[in-house]
Amino acid sequence: MKLVTVAGPPSSGKTSVILRLAEELAKDGLRLGVIKFDCLSSEDEHRYAKAGIPVKLGLAGGLCPDHFFVANIEEGVQWGHRSGFDLLICESAGLCNRCSPHIRDVLAVCVVDNLSGVHTPAKIGPMLKTADVVVITKGDVVSQAEREVFAFRVKQVNPRAAVLPVNGLTGQGSLMVQRQLRSAPETQALEGVRLRFSMPAALCSYCLGETRIGPDCQIGNIKTMDFS
């Protein structure tokens, strides 16, 4: 089974892109499953179910979604094997720009959209910089020049990635991404496999439910700004 991680900022079009890909892959008889990681709630589960795609939804709630993801992905892969999928797509919303869900030897896709502005690529961290494929959506509503500038800025921060425009509504451009998915490496299990980049650190009193403000209440991994 091939595993693919798909990550990107909220509302960048991850689910739409995956659904357009799924339509084409299903025509070739490929069995596809999706694990959707989100924070508080997600309607996307229903979008997948409606398209006839087996889906598991995981809500991180009060936890860092990245940490929640990495704690569950191995079990998810085993679910994929048991279900007999050819391809398991793991979709996670990059809620902070420091998100880092990509795994070594697993095809990593990052979805960003043209409407987020030309300065956005430089602001997104490992989620974009360590991806193998960067999908750029919403190109149908901006000018050609803006599309070219945006793609260039993505190339600047991740010169290694294939940068592919896809229209999440019509599926235009998704063939190039399909080719990348088809050549993705196989994943048997993830135990012992490493993340491509360390996840955002999370170990302070606020992680454990502290709500009071003040230095006396801050214990653990604390970083302070310089206001001098």
Partner: protein, 351 residues
């Protein structure tokens, strides 16, 4: 250049040879004063936290810089291969009937694509855009200069075959025309940015008819001005050899002149349209039916003559629009008004 050579190069020397590498160092937060140190000294001076916050690993900085330079060299204006021809080899329609065509497109060709909604126009354009190799539902194949495309160049997205212009496209950046064109020219790694900006701007003003300035915010341009700027920009700055035009409104931009400009810039123009004024501007029309190319019609001389008449009607219609715009009444004899546009005098003037 090996990674080791790269590490021991002073940054100032590197920037002299590869000016665009400035962006790499700026993204890492290089203060302009430290340009005289070598790449290695600069990398070593970076704080571990800072590198991590950028989502990078110290050991990979050098290979990233190397990849960055390789990638930017590929994107450099003028480095893109100039195509002599693009060949579309027919596949099959939705019923599996073969198309039996081989369509060769050369720079300067203008081809209209016609067919009802859902007939497969988008499929055709998608096949061209993704360089189909028999692996799309249509089974079509696209050849560049008669050969299957070089995967490393085209399939990774470094080069895009198709630039697109459609009625739905808007400017979303909050910048002036000058800043907008500068950004685009920078991303195309153009050497003389000011010259490129001036050239595109003056071309756009000619196309638009109504003047605007370099300091006008792009979001404040009228529909016609925006379209004119987009067309001039695609013609002069986009690296893509094919320009796909998905309808252009008839008001506010000289479409004939726009096409001439694209042809002069050696673009292959595909026009998806139902507007006879636009469709007849093409040398050929691809008729799409049931997912396949059902026919290729060459624009005939009598159609060209008809187009001239249609254009004179169209000018009359613009006159009516102008009258409405200026608060006038339209109470006149329509037959007289239209007869005038087909008068022998006007016909002669058009010839």
């Amino acid at each position: 250049m090996t990674d080791l050579d790269l590490l021991h190069t002073p940054i100032s020397d590197l920037l002299l040879k590869h000016p665009y590498a400035k962006d790499f160092f700026t993204l890492l937060g290089l203060p302009s004063t430290s340009c005289h140190t070598t790449v290695k000294v600069f990398f070593d001076s970076l704080d571990q936290d800072h590198i991590e916050n950028l989502g990078l690993v110290r050991d990979e900085l050098c290979s990233r810089l190397h990849d960055f330079i390789v990638q930017m060299e590929k994107l450099k204006t003028g480095k893109a291969p100039t195509l002599q021809s693009i060949t579309l080899c027919g596949g099959r329609n939705k019923d599996g009937h073969p198309e039996n065509i081989s369509l060769e497109l050369r720079p300067g060709d203008v081809v209209s694509v016609v067919g009802p909604t859902g007939s497969g126009k988008s499929r055709l354009l998608a096949d061209v855009e993704c360089l189909a190799q028999g692996d799309t539902p249509s089974g079509r194949r696209v050849l560049l200069d008669g050969q299957p495309p070089d995967e490393s160049l085209w399939l990774g997205g470094e080069q895009r075959l198709v630039a697109q212009l459609s009625q739905n496209m808007n400017f979303v950046m909050d910048v002036s025309v000058r800043e907008f064109l500068t950004l685009h020219a920078e991303s195309r790694l153009v050497d003389d940015i000011d010259a490129a900006v001036t050239q595109i701007f003056s071309t756009a003003v000619l196309l638009a008819g109504e003047p605007f300035t370099l300091d006008t915010p792009v979001t404040a341009l009228s529909g016609g001005q925006s379209r004119a700027l987009m067309i001039a920009d695609v013609a002069c700055l986009s690296a893509s050899p094919i320009v796909l035009i998905d309808e252009i409104e008839n008001a506010g931009v000289d479409r004939r002149q726009a096409l001439d400009l694209l042809v002069k810039q050696e673009k292959i123009v595909l026009l998806a349209t139902h507007d006879p004024l636009l469709a007849l501007l093409g040398q050929r029309r691809l008729v799409i039916r049931n997912g396949g190319i059902a026919d290729i019609i060459d624009t005939s001389d009598s159609e060209r003559t008809l187009l001239r008449k249609l254009n004179s009607f169209d000018r009359k219609f613009s006159e009516l629009r102008d009258r409405v715009r200026h608060g006038q009444r339209l109470d006149f004899d329509l037959d007289v008004f239209l007869a005038e546009c087909l008068s022998p005098a006007e016909q002669g003037q058009l010839e």
